[in-house]
């Protein structure tokens, strides 16, 4: 497998260098060809999970993106669109082969995906500076728009740093100075804890105990016993999905709910209803809430509900914004996907009128966006403030 890949790499590099030389001389003739033909579709490859519980994330992202492009007359830069969809199955080892299939066999102009950070890192490594444009609609590992950043890699979601960093000042402002960290002991959890510590400790906060818990286990009892003994002002966490529901329920069952305030990032996203009463009062910092009161969000929620029958969530808006980014990028070059540099420039300078609020892109091609402070009230993540306005990810290691 890796042998074949290497062989193709050299061939592709050869093609790339020669084609650049050709393109330089022929650039003026390429655009008219499209203008006259006008029918060659833009190929959008999609690598998202469509099986397992994350199936919902994948389908929300894809449905919302298609909905956005449909609002544009199903056209990108005046050209029709062709989707090539592959199920990622959240499988990191198989992702190499799947990305290759989209790039080489399907000859995709764009790849939209993935959800999983491990696949995202693999994909960014493979496609950095390759002849395809990547839009990451979820995977939040810092590296993707950090050390792996490239002119052809964009992201419409978040980084672990971006979601956790604003929680530090927000907690200090709430008078919570002694905090216990509880998070899943894997890349994203560790990045979240590190970003929180980065703003919380210099601001005068104290990390009373740093307790990573084995991923993806959800046996928290002995950790809660320690929290109860330490009696911190609050607990800051990273858990998500089913594990987050279990965490909130066990936290309440251990008698800690209401006595020691619970904070997080994704903890209550899409899980507040599942956790029921155990989620009430939990505060979190995130780049979106379904309860945001702006016209774009209100319309988006209604449209999405009508199109899919499902309630919108943070994943859907990230897909929706990937659609907006495609539209603005291709409009900027009149559909000429061959004009790579101009295309990437148009995408980087895009202003996305998102349900999360207007945002622009950083030099690393990552959203500069508001991070909202939310509190669960009646099973909904109510916005109670803005934790950080127009926050830019530091994109550590990015040389763009």
């Amino acid at each position: 497998m890796s042998k074949i890949f290497k062989k193709n790499m050299t061939r592709r590099e050869f093609v790339k260098t020669t084609s650049t030389a050709v393109a330089v001389t022929a650039v003026s003739s390429v655009i008219p060809t499209f203008a006259i033909g006008g029918v060659a579709p833009v190929k959008v490859g999609v690598l998202l999970p469509f099986t397992g519980t994350y199936a919902k994330l994948g389908s929300h992202i894809l449905d919302a993106m298609k909905m956005r492009i449909a609002q544009n007359g199903d056209k990108l830069g005046g050209r029709p669109v062709e989707y090539k969809v592959i199920d990622s199955e959240m499988n990191v080892p198989k992702s190499t082969q799947r990305v290759n299939k989209l790039v080489k066999k399907e000859k995709a102009d764009f790849i939209v995906g993935p959800v999983h950070s491990g696949i995202g890192i693999n994909m960014a490594r493979m496609l950095k500076d390759e002849n395809v444009t990547v839009i990451v609609p979820n995977a939040g590992a810092n590296q993707i728009t950090g050390e792996l950043c490239a002119p052809n890699i964009f992201r419409t979601s978040f980084t672990s740093w971006q979601t956790a960093y604003p929680a530090g000042p927000a907690m200090l402002k709430a008078g919570l100075k002694r905090v216990v960290l509880l998070y899943w002991n894997y890349a994203f959890g560790k990045q979240t804890a590190a970003a929180f510590t980065e703003s919380f400790v210099p601001g005068g906060g104290e990390i009373v105990a740093d307790m990573p818990t084995p991923f993806p286990k959800t046996e928290f009892q002995s950790f809660f016993t320690k929290v109860a003994a330490l009696k911190p002002d609050a607990v800051f966490t990273f858990y998500s999905g089913g594990g987050a529901i279990k965490f909130m329920k066990d936290y309440a069952a251990a008698g800690l709910q209401g006595k020691i305030p619970l904070w997080g990032t994704f903890l209550t996203e899409g899980t507040a209803k599942g956790a029921g009463a155990a989620a009430e009062g939990i505060k979190s910092t995130l780049h979106y809430s379904t309860e945001l009161d702006n016209p774009v969000n209100v319309k988006f929620k209604a449209d999405f509900k009508k199109a899919t029958g499902d309630d919108a969530d943070v994943f859907a808006i990230q897909g929706f914004d990937a659609g907006s980014l495609l539209i603005q990028g291709l409009d900027g070059v009149n559909g000429d996907t061959g004009a790579r540099m101009e295309l990437h420039n148009a995408m980087q300078s895009a202003k996305i009128d998102s349900p999360r609020g207007m945002f622009t892109f950083s030099k690393a091609n990552h959203p500069i966006q508001n991070i909202y402070l939310r509190e669960v009230q009646g099973g909904l993540n109510k916005v109670i403030g803005v934790a950080a306005e127009a926050l830019e990810d530091p994109a550590i290691g990015c040389k763009a």
Partner: protein, 288 residues
Amino acid sequence: MEFSFYLIQLLNGIQYGFLLFLVASGLTLVFGIMDVINLAHGSFYMIGAYLTFWLTGIFGSLFLGVVFAVPLAVALGFVVEKLAIAYLYKKGHLHQVLLTYALILIFDEAQRFLWGNDSHGIDIPAVLSGSIPLTDVQVYPVYRLFVSFVCIVIGLGMFYVIQKTKLGMTIRAGASNREMTQALGINIEWLFTIVFSLGVGLAAFAGMIAAPIDSLYPGMGDNILIISLVVVVIGGIGSIKGAFVGAMIIGISSIFGKTLFPDMASIVVYAMMAAILIWKPQGLFKSA
């Protein structure tokens, strides 16, 4: 840290120990009596948990889910013994390791196929969802005490069956001298089928009652297998008493390890095993 903290952690450790005992006792029985290394033991724990998840979803009650899942698990053990394990009694341990490792792969893949890659949870039944206050901040969930209680009952039941009944007598006889037991006219093949099915039943049952405390995720069986092997080796292979003492030692030390030395949490259990094996290379209790 207050004294109550250590007491509550001790309670957590004992409760975890009881659960480990339930899994490890099945492993040590099969190993000690049948001389079969069953690496797929953890997979049966996982199967128990997933069966309960599935059946609880159908019946809407954990109790009914467990009632229907136990016979299914025992039946699965029966089938596996008849179709696979039975051919290996005369072969060496390497063959058993290879076969049961293959079973792990098959069961893991089957789990993915049937239930997907996500973690699931089962709700604690309403009757047992209460809690008992311990300190001014912490309360203890009743379900955890219930799990310990069930483990004690099963442990005592096992002790009674093995020490006081005819079946137990035959099992002990088969363990100490297989040929002689056979010569006395006891059908050792059936005996082994029963022991293996019971061992599977114990592992699966542990998975069932642990499911509402822990959650269900792919590969959950592998973790429990490794820790159960540690318990069995510490306790002495084939000894139920050893499995109990070993489970308590590992349960308590792993809970304290996790919370007092989080950086070394994963080492604590193995360091404990190494220390005990240096002191007693055969394990604490040699054999049944």
